[in-house]
Structures are given as structure tokens and as C-alpha cells.
Symmetry: C2
Subunit: 412 residues, 2 copies
């Protein structure tokens, strides 16, 4: 293979890119130049850069440059894509002004006003139910699963997650639940079917709500589950329980105080609440390429940021669990199913779309594995709620056995 000679400028640009990537064990190849990492670790992958314009884009913003060039096929990664991304994420990096500026700009155009949220959510979740059916489990649960042991199937793990949420909340027959951001409705339907709850579930994705209503009908629980196509900010009325699984990432930090007020006016000082969300160890914007192409308006908060909007309402935090390794595992399943359906995705939506989504899923596996993102489940209760679990042992009793109500403290 003929390899064109690289100019001094190209070599300088390669050096800039290398300094931005940090000491990752990945070779960068441009023309006849192979730039090797300054590390003892064995090289685990090679990235071939086709031309100077791609190199400039990479050097200016590795996040944006790599994402775009990988998606449109200019760049290939030789070696394991997930492992290569893990190395990049593990390496300490300093964000440059260009990436920062781009990120701030996106925050501005993708702001989560009611209209902005509608647009942001539409872009991701209304892509097509058929597309998501290609690689999600049969209940269409698009959030972190719970694997009692690492080897259970995705289907079992998603059902175990739905049950875990109900157990953490100590859900009882006849209780009313408000869910915001209900996806395709799996949790709402599960709560009605297996716990006898009466659920009102909000979502602004038209495609998801349509699907959820049909499914509730088929499941015979439509009298106990109401799906409302509306914004969480328009919620009115009281419930015993508030629950949100995988929505907080879309709320945006500016709107947390409003979410706090919605929760408090829903469950007051006596109800229970549950938040499940992708989070961070410290405040950090979402990867700019992901924000532009996958999750417009997205922001994963730290645990402290989430407590920041619960604290003013005097809520008691009862339990926090970090399930990041379960999200890595969930994403491995999704990625494997996605790869099986890759050709179909290419036929239906084009190669660029397919490669974009492969990168998003592979990058997400990597980021949860190395611990750059966390998955928090937060159980809380109103300041006067005396119906709190004595221990957490009931969470680990055999799956879906009848709850031992004595394990719960009631108003004394």
C-alpha cells in the first residue's frame, strides 16, 4: 500500500492530537507516519487518519473530530473499538477552548424549555419503535438493567430491574404512582400488573406513548395505567409515590428546582420517591459529540446535584445504589444485538446513522466500565413518611416472592 509522505505540519498536528489524547496505547497513522504512544503498555489499536482535514478536526476537538469521522467512515479503528475507547476515557485530558465553546453553544440551542425538551426528546425517542425493537429487550426497557448475577439474560435483568424498583419503593396494592419519563411504559405496566398500583405516567415522546397505550391494553391493565403525553412540568394532583427512571439526564440543571417542586407537590411530606439516572462523580458536561448527535439537551448530574433539588423540600434520602457495572453489562447486550442487526440498520437508515449509533453504544459500554459515568438509584421519602424499610434484606429475597410486610416500619 502506497503511503504518501507526511509534511512537517502534519507531524505537528499529530503531536497536538497525541497531547490531547494523553498516554493512550493507540497508534495514530497518517500517510507514512506512524505516531506511537509514549507508554510501556502494548499498543491495543490503530487509528488510520485519511487526510489533513480529518487530522485538523481531530486535533481541534478529539471528541467531535473522531465521532464525525468514525460515523461517516473516514476513520476505522483497528482493534477492539470498546477497549480503545476505554483507554481514551481512562486517560486524563484537558478540554480545549474549542470543545468547551461548542458544548456551551449546544447547551444554548438545545435548552430544555418545554418546547426545547419536546424537540430534544422527539429527536432521540421518536426515531421509530421498529428501530429500537431491533436491539432492546422484549419489554422495550431503554434504561440500565439489574443483573442479579452477571450471566442472566437481558430479558431477565430488565424484569429484575422493574421488580427492584417496586421493592425499593415498597409498593402496595391500591397505591397511586406518578411516573415521569415512562419510555415505552414497561415500569408503569409492571407496577399495575404485579403490584396492583394505579399509575399515571407522563412522557413527551409521541411514539413511545402510542406504543405504551397499546401494550397496556393488551396486558389488560389499561384501567389502572394512564399514559399522558405531556411534560413533567404540567403534572398536577397527588400520588403516594413518585418515580422517574432515566429522565433526569434530559431535565437539565437549570430545571432541577422546578422538578423538585413537582415532586414535592405530588407526594408532599408523606409519600415516597425514586430517581434512577445516569450520573457523574463531579460536574461535567456530556460528551459534545453525543450531545450534538445522540442526546440533545442531555446532562448527567452528580449525586450531590440531584440532592440539591430534593434537600429544600426536606426529603429523607433512604437509599442510594450505584449500578454502573450493570449499565456496562446492559450496554454490552444492546451493542451485541445492534451488531447482529447492523446490516438491517444500514439498509433502513444508512451507513452513517448505523456507525453513529454503534459508536454511541460502544462508547457508553466503555464509559460505564471505566467509571466515567455512574448509574444512581435514589430512594427518598417525605419528612413525615414513617413507612420506611427496616433493612434492605427484602430486596434480595427470591425474585417476586410475596413481600414480608413485617420488614416495613409503619407509623409507630
Amino acid at each position: 500500500m502506497h503511503r504518501p509522505a507526511t509534511s512537517p505540519l502534519d507531524r505537528k498536528l499529530l503531536a497536538v492530537l497525541r497531547s490531547r489524547l494523553g498516554p493512550v496505547p493507540i497508534a495514530l497513522v497518517l500517510g507514512d507516519t506512524e505516531d506511537l504512544p509514549d507508554t510501556d503498555a502494548p499498543v491495543i489499536g490503530t487509528v488510520r487518519i485519511p487526510d489533513r482535514s480529518t487530522l485538523i478536526a481531530l486535533a481541534m476537538s478529539p471528541e467531535m473530530g473522531f465521532g464525525d469521522a468514525y460515523s461517516d467512515g473516514r476513520i476505522e479503528v483497528e482493534g477492539d473499538l470498546v477497549r480503545a475507547l476505554e483507554c481514551v476515557y481512562e486517560s486524563p485530558k484537558i478540554k480545549n477552548w474549542y470543545t468547551r465553546l461548542r458544548s456551551k453553544y449546544l447547551d444554548w440551542v438545545q435548552a430544555n424549555s418545554k418546547r426545547g425538551s419536546a424537540r430534544n426528546i422527539h429527536r432521540h425517542y421518536d426515531l421509530s419503535n421498529d428501530f429500537y425493537r431491533l436491539w432492546l429487550d422484549d419489554q422495550m426497557v431503554y434504561t440500565c438493567a439489574y443483573f442479579p448475577t452477571p450471566d442472566v439474560s437481558l430479558e431477565e435483568a430488565q424484569e429484575a430491574k422493574l421488580d427492584l424498583v417496586c421493592r425499593k419503593l415498597g409498593l402496595r396494592p391500591g397505591e397511586t404512582v406518578l411516573e415521569v419519563g415512562c419510555g415505552w411504559g414497561a415500569l408503569a405496566i409492571y407496577m399495575a400488573k404485579h403490584y396492583g398500583a394505579r399509575v399515571k405516567a407522563f412522557n413527551i415522546s409521541h411514539e413511545q406513548v402510542k406504543w405504551a397505550r397499546e401494550w397496556a391494553q393488551k396486558s389488560g391493565v389499561s384501567s389502572n395505567v394512564e399514559f399522558v403525553e405531556d411534560d413533567y412540568r404540567n403534572v398536577v394532583g397527588r400520588s403516594d409515590v413518585f418515580v422517574s427512571v432515566g429522565m433526569l439526564e434530559h431535565v437539565g440543571a437549570d430545571h432541577y428546582p422546578e422538578l423538585g417542586r413537582v415532586i414535592h407537590r405530588t407526594i408532599g411530606d408523606t409519600g415516597r420517591g425514586f430517581l434512577h439516572f445516569i450520573g457523574r462523580n463531579r460536574p461535567q458536561p456530556l460528551n459534545v459529540w453525543i450531545k450534538k448527535n445522540i442526546f440533545p439537551g442531555g446532562y448527567p448530574p452528580t449525586l450531590a446535584e440531584s440532592l440539591g433539588f430534593l434537600q429544600p423540600h426536606d426529603f429523607s434520602i433512604l437509599d442510594v445504589e450505584n449500578l454502573r457495572m450493570h449499565y456496562a453489562k446492559t450496554l454490552e447486550h444492546w451493542l451485541a444485538r445492534f451488531e447482529l442487526a447492523f446490516d438491517k440498520v444500514v439498509r433502513e437508515r444508512g451507513l452513517e446513522f448505523a456507525r453513529m449509533w454503534r459508536l454511541y453504544l460502544a462508547g457508553s459500554v466503555a464509559t460505564f466500565r471505566v467509571g466515567k459515568m455512574q448509574l444512581f438509584q435514589v430512594l427518598f421519602a417525605g419528612s413525615r413518611c414513617q413507612s420506611i424499610p427496616w433493612t434492605r434484606e427484602h430486596l434480595y429475597a427470591p425474585f417476586r416472592e410475596e413481600e414480608d410486610t413485617e420488614l416495613w416500619t409503619r407509623a409507630m
Copy 2:
């Protein structure tokens, strides 16, 4: 019984006191006036106020006035003391300027500089080991116990707590542990004895350290446990694990950033850490009477405040558990044992001291029962620590059975 006539001024003061207490179902009696609460709830107790000066002190600051008058015997509560205090704590109150000022003044004179901490800790924990032996369990654990079921003995519950801490940390033989604020040494000794850990434990209470050293000797673990009579701020060196049970309440919010730095320089980005502390739902000073008489320099933080000093160091929060009902139960045991030893305490330390401590213990039972205080256990890990538990199921395996190491994820 002759009851002197109350003046219009007294009646006015009674009304002020009533407004400060809120709608509690407790009768206030002064002379021939019985002030009944404006509530439908049955009256559950009566407080007899002997004279106008006591009434003025109560009206100015119910917290201080009641604590002082109860301690020196001017005031008796007819009815169940704990239940009466629960009603007072449950009632929404507005702190007045006098109480606020008094609280700020105490914060100033009781500031937790190294010298201040030494003084504050000495006042509480160096009272006398014999005194604490009268009402603590046989391992002298002076923090919230863990009751697998509410009916186990205090001794069993304290041992279960020590084991729970070790399990949460996933402690392995040969690992090094730094403990700060180690009390009489029960946890440090337990970790060495049952988990093969090598523990260095800091404490600035001379009496406690003396006791702990003797006990480690008797337990045959003194080669693996070192007790250091020094401030947590003077900690140097690395450990695999950082642990602190019941010290954060004494650190003071001004010193949290320093504690965060101590933790990070101890375990770096790869170790694990554990904090167990009395906390709040929202920021609130400690009861001013308790601060003056029982815990000088004390401040129970919110969960968010505790995360505030972990977040800058990129720690991953893995698990948070709220055990407030277990602290109510622990305190019930302590109070019951204290009542059995009451006459001995009076003989040795005087009636005022004994009544002061009765009020502190009874008030603490009440405050945890009604949820005005929380007990948080926070497990966290360095940002590069990959040795994290897969689930929490191992915490609920039969007591002290061998750990199934497969339940732990190791560097992948």
C-alpha cells in the same frame, strides 16, 4: 395543693411559649393556670412550670429553657418523656433570634480548630470509661447499631453493625485501613480479628485510646492494630481503606474540605472509603442545649454536605443507607440501661448530670423516631477503583459466613 394565681403577664408569657412550641398536645401549668393546646389530639403530657423566671427562660428559648430547667429538676414532665419530646420535635417551629444568636455564639467558642476539637472531644468522651460502661454494650460501641431484626439484643446489633461495615467495604485479609475517630476501638479490633486487616486508628480522646490499646492487647491483635492519639488532620501515609464511624458530626462544616483532602491523600484514586454519621435532611444547627451541654462543636451534616467534600476528589458514591430507625432502637437500649443505672449515676456524678443525660438520650430517641435526624452510611471509592461490589446481596448473607468473592468485580 395550693396553686398561686397567675398574673396577666404570666398568661401572656404562656401564650408566647405556646406559639413557639406549635400545636403540641401537652398541657402547660403555671400556678392556677392550665394552658391547653389548641388541637383535637388527646393531651399526652403535662409540664409544670414552677415560677416566672423559668417561664421567661422557656418563652425566650424553649430549647435552652427546657433543657436547663429539666436538668436541674425545676421542671417535671408528667407522662412519657420520649413521647412528649416526639410531639415537640414533630411540630413545625420557627427559631427565634435569641436561640439563633446563642447557637452562633456557641459555634464561635466551640470552633473545631485542632485545639478546639481537643477540648470539645475531651468534654464528652473523656468523662470516664466507667460511666459509659454503665449503659453501652460490652464492646463499648457508641454509635448506631444495626438490628437485622428489631428484637435482637444490643450486643448482637453492635456486632452486626461492625460486620456490616466490613462487608460494605469488602475488606480482605492483609488490607490496610485508616480509621479516624475510633472511639473505644471496637471496629478497628473487629477488622483485624475477623477480616485480617491491618488498622491504624486515630482518636483525640485520651481515655478512649488508653482503653482501646489495652483491649487490643487482650484480644491478641495489637500487632495489627495501632491506636494513635492524634487529630485526623495529622494523618499521613497511604491505606487501601478509609473508615470513619461517628466522627463527621464533630468535624464541623468549616473543616469538611480539609477532611476531603485527608481522605484523598490516604486512599488516592484506587482505594475505598466509608462514612457513618448522624445527618439531616436539610442544613440545620444542632439543638443549642445539646451543643452547650452534651456535644460541644457538634454539627450533623446533610448527605449533600458530605458529598460536597467527596465530589472534588472524583470519588464514586457506591452505596448510601439511612439507618435512622436503627439509631432510635439503639438509643432505646441505651436509655433503658441508663435508667437502670440512674441511681448510681446520681451518686457518682450528681442529680443534674444524670437528668441532663437522661434528657439527651430520651431526646435522641425521639428525634430519630420522628425523622428530624438521619443516620447515613456512605460507601465510596476512588475514581479508578475497579474493585466494587456487583450487587449488595452479600450484605444479607448469613452473618459472618465466608464472603463469596465472585460477588465482587475485580479489575477487568
